[in-house]
């Protein structure tokens, strides 16, 4: 055993007993970590990457246990140690950072109290010295005015600041190893960059080793020195980041890398490298045959005029006591027939609100929406019904967009039935036909949503949206809850819908690389205002506004990634 290694994981297996037999979450995983190294652990959901982190910490949930292999810390075996021994090691030698800074801190204690208790637990310091050290730590992780903020409660910090506090907590006792489980997934891209930079500088300065668990290839490419790729509980490839991402050897790694949307080039379609039977056919040509041809209007199909939306931030009995928050402020744009129009922005920029205003789900506080030359905001029932027949929507979360208590056939049929687009007696056939065409098979009709994976559910959503044969499709972050390989499939489908059916789309996303792949024109939103509107390629090549430039600069670089199989447009 090499003693200069901080952490040596050898042939680690983790098993969760379940009703239908033992579930092996991790099988024979091997990896090691040296001082000053950031080791990426990457994979899609169910790959077992978080389980490895929890196993090292001795924090496996429920009945999960290490069923094989060893974990050595500085040459000493720590797997199989008892509770007390692990607790002495945790936080002192090995620390952990969790995904969600909102829930990682106890809301009832000041950040100072939480820091001090952790410091005095591990170091032999007086209360006053511990407090001083806590201030230093807060300063170190970049929290301004630590002397004041140390006495504040977690809810008084923003998300990014909270994650800094979490990192300060992980640093309390100068640990040798930090396990960071998706530390930036819940954060905006600008904050993500800051947190990753902070982790990098800590590693360089204190020579700690970091295991960075993430699903995001961009984060891996930008931050890590070495990387381990996992698939379904097994390590498939391991090596230096440059080598694994640039010249992948395993088929799965290749398929994963090919599916990553690149910020620097637009591809025609994502290459479909089949791995593990995950490719499913989408019968776009057959769908296109039966699609009604509609006359495209000369002008724009959708016009948004001076949209405005305010939400109540604080209620009050008297109108003067109420506080409002302007979510969308004087936003105007046109969507031309047959184009994909993108809206991009960070969380809270108002992009989803705009989508829902156009869909008629939120009443407007100002402005108007015009569809196919007719004003639909505040229109009469007949106009609205006509409008509803022509638009459909695909939502972000495939788990909440399908009613778990309804059968798939009922879900897909509901819009078409309610709007009277299809005669009642033909509905069954149409639904089965659609499910067949989106690649789920007619059998799917009699199942319930929980029997499907995220990607399959998104196909059900697409089938539901297509059942009314709409002209305009609103996609509200349609792939941000999906694994990258599934995202590639769904994005390909959406591209097909535009190209073969001539669907007009409004595409909402926070993910600039995805926007570049999908959209013809893009609007950039900041705090409810449209700051820039440009043709996509122009925007990426030559951004005019400083905010846009900043957003583009903060995108994780993917230069390292292999470009095999990518066909640029």
């Amino acid at each position: 055993m090499m003693s200069d290694q901080l952490l040596d994981i050898e042939d680690l297996s983790v098993t969760f007993p379940t009703r239908r037999g033992a579930f092996i979450a991790v099988r024979d995983a091997t990896l090691s970590l040296s001082p000053g190294e950031i080791h990426g652990l990457v994979g899609e959901s169910g790959a077992g990457k978080s389980t490895i982190g929890a196993a090292v910490m001795g924090l496996l949930e429920g009945a999960g246990h290490i069923s094989g292999g060893t974990v050595h810390f500085r040459g000493d075996a720590i797997s199989g140690r008892d509770r007390a021994a692990m607790q002495a090691l945790r936080g002192k030698k090995i620390s952990m950072i969790f995904q969600d800074p909102l829930t990682s801190l106890n809301p009832l204690f000041t950040v100072g109290a939480q820091l001090v208790e952790t410091i005095t637990e591990h170091l032999d310091l007086s209360e006053a010295d511990a407090r001083k050290r806590a201030c230093d730590l807060l300063d170190r992780v970049g929290i301004p005015d630590p002397d004041t903020r140390i006495d504040q409660y977690p809810h008084q910090f923003s998300g990014g600041m909270r994650q800094r506090v979490v990192i300060a907590l992980a640093l309390c006792s100068e640990p040798d190893v930090i396990i960071a489980d998706e530390p930036t997934t819940a954060l905006d891209v600008s904050i993500q960059k800051q947190i990753l930079d902070l982790i990098r500088s800590l590693v360089d300065e204190k020579q700690v080793g970091v295991i960075l668990i993430t699903h995001d290839m961009g984060v891996i490419a930008e931050t890590t020195d070495t990387v381990t790729v996992m698939y379904m509980g097994e390590v498939v490839e391991r090596g230096s980041t440059a080598k694994v991402l640039g010249r992948p050897e395993h088929e799965y790694t290749k398929s994963l890398i090919a599916a990553v949307p690149r910020p620097d080039r637009k591809v025609e379609r994502f290459p479909q490298i089949s791995y593990g039977g995950r490719e499913t056919r989408f019968a776009i040509e057959e769908l296109a045959r039966d699609w009604p041809k509609t006359e495209a209007p000369d002008g724009p199909l959708v016009e948004a005029r001076n949209l405005k939306k305010t939400f109540l931030a604080r209620g009050g009995l008297l109108p003067s006591m109420r506080k409002y928050f302007t979510a969308v402020d004087d936003v105007s744009f046109d969507i031309r027939p047959g184009e994909v129009f993108g809206l991009v922005g960070e969380s809270g920029s108002g992009k989803s609100t705009i989508a829902r205003m156009i869909a008629g789900l939120y009443p407007l506080d100002g402005g108007e929406v015009i569809f196919d030359g007719k004003r639909v905001s505040g229109a009469d029932a007949a106009t609205l019904e006509d409008f509803r027949r022509q638009i459909q929507m695909i939502f972000q979360d495939p788990f909440s967009s399908l009613n778990p208590r309804h059968r798939v056939d009922a879900i897909v049929a509901e819009p078409a039935l309610h709007l009277g687009v299809i005669p009642k007696n033909e509905v069954d056939d149409r639904v089965r036909d659609l499910l067949e065409k989106v690649g789920l098979g007619a059998d799917a009709a009699v199942k319930y949503p929980h029997e499907f994976s995220g990607g399959q559910r998104q196909r059900i959503s697409i089938a539901r949206a297509l059942a009314t044969q709409p002209r305009f499709l609103i996609c509200d972050e349609p792939t941000s809850a999906l694994d990258v390989s599934i995202q590639a499939q769904i994005l390909n489908i959406l591209k097909d819908l535009q190209e073969f059916l001539g669907l007009t789309m409004l595409f909402i996303s926070h993910d600039l690389p995805v926007v570049r792949q999908m959209c013809d024109r893009v609007g950039v939103l900041k705090d409810g205002r449209l700051v820039e509107l440009q043709a996509t390629e122009v925007l990426f090549a030559d951004p005019q506004q400083s905010y846009t430039r900043e957003l583009l600069r903060l995108m994780p670089k993917t230069d390292l990634l292999s470009t095999d199989g990518l066909q640029a447009v």
Binding site: F16, G46, R278, L361, F395, E414, P415, F452, G455
Partner: protein, 318 residues
């Protein structure tokens, strides 16, 4: 655990409803839990014997013709000194067979309990859906009322309603109306639980995208509430209904025991215990003991079932 099935679901073909139920995790955890099986069996046994009381009971205790005062105070399983008749659970002061009065009493207890819960459930679901979905003033008013009512313990609310109703009904109708007043009193005191849970679920569900998808196509609020949201609120409602049934049975027994519930002409288990209490200290223990045991068995088995249901329908808690 994240879902792992990226390929097509493994179970090929479709099964019947019953087969799918038998294969479900719900039924599996039921089979695995002896407490659940036993409490379900006992509950069903008690409910069935209450429903079929006229067929099972050896005598009709409320038919004056079948009563023989000579049989009064017969201890259980012992022949009466005068008539040589023997009774499984003995007789009370008027010579009524205790076993039969229990069966008939349980009928009343269960009927009042079930009807009160049903009433509370319908009212609570309606108000919960409406306040959760529409929000605004509707919600404020309904939930304020709920808060205020919650401040007052339900048994007190029930007593008060009973007292008020008693004041309004003419003396000669009081006994006849008592059962219905009880149902309304207990039901009105219990709707808040349902309303709160349904409102909570509604608040969560109405922000889910499947509701947005339904609104997108112009479905009416009522269709969304009933067809989309309500089915998702049914599991917690079922748990609360079960636990409420136990509470309602106990509440009814308590009110009747205090003399503000079921009248002696239509005695429930609580009334029987009230009657039996007087004889406990003079040695005729069985007049109290058997109704008390039945009440405990009923409340306990329903409670156990509700407790198990809550765990089974909320796997997170395991």
């Amino acid at each position: 655990m994240a879902d792992l099935s990226t390929s097509a679901p493994t179970k090929p073909g479709r099964k019947g409803r019953w087969a799918r139920f038998a294969d479900s995790d719900f039924f599996y955890s039921f089979k695995r839990s002896p407490v659940a099986v036993v409490s379900f069996t006992v509950t069903m046994l008690l409910v069935l014997s209450a429903v079929f009381a006229p067929l099972i009971a050896p005598t009709n205790p409320f038919d004056p013709a079948s009563l023989n005062l000579m049989n009064g105070f017969t201890p259980p399983m012992e022949p009466n000194a005068f008539t040589q008749e023997s009774f499984l659970m003995g007789t009370d002061d008027q010579g009524r067979d205790v076993f039969s009065t229990i069966l008939y009493g349980m009928r009343i207890s269960l009927f009042v309990g079930a009807a009160a819960v049903l009433f509370a459930m319908v009212l609570g679901i309606f108000l919960g859906l409406v306040s959760g979905y529409f929000g605004g003033w509707t919600e404020t008013i309904i939930m304020r009322i709920a808060d205020v009512q919650l401040t007052f313990p339900s048994i007190l609310v029930a007593m008060l309603i009973f007292g008020i109703a008693k004041g309004f009904t003419p003396v000669e109708y009081r006994d006849q109306m008592a059962i219905w007043v009880l149902i309304i009193a207990i039901g009105l005191s219990d709707w808040v639980q349902f309303a709160r849970v349904v409102r909570g679920t509604t608040l969560v569900e109405k922000n889910k995208d499947y509701v947005a998808a339904a609104r997108l196509i112009g479905r009416s609020p009522w269709a969304i509430m009933i067809k989309h949201i309500l089915p998702n609120a049914l599991s917690p409602v079922l748990v609360i209904a079960t636990i409420s049934l136990a509470l309602a049975i106990i509440a009814e027994a308590t009110l009747s025991f205090l003399g503000v519930g079921a009248p002696p002409t239509q005695p429930s288990l609580g009334t029987l215990i009230r009657i039996g209490q007087g004889f406990l200290f003079s040695g005729e223990w069985w007049i109290l003991f058997f109704p008390a045991c039945t009440l405990l068995a009923l409340a306990l088995s329903v409670n156990l079932l509700g407790d198990w249901l809550r765990d089974a329908l909320n796997p997170r808690l395991k």
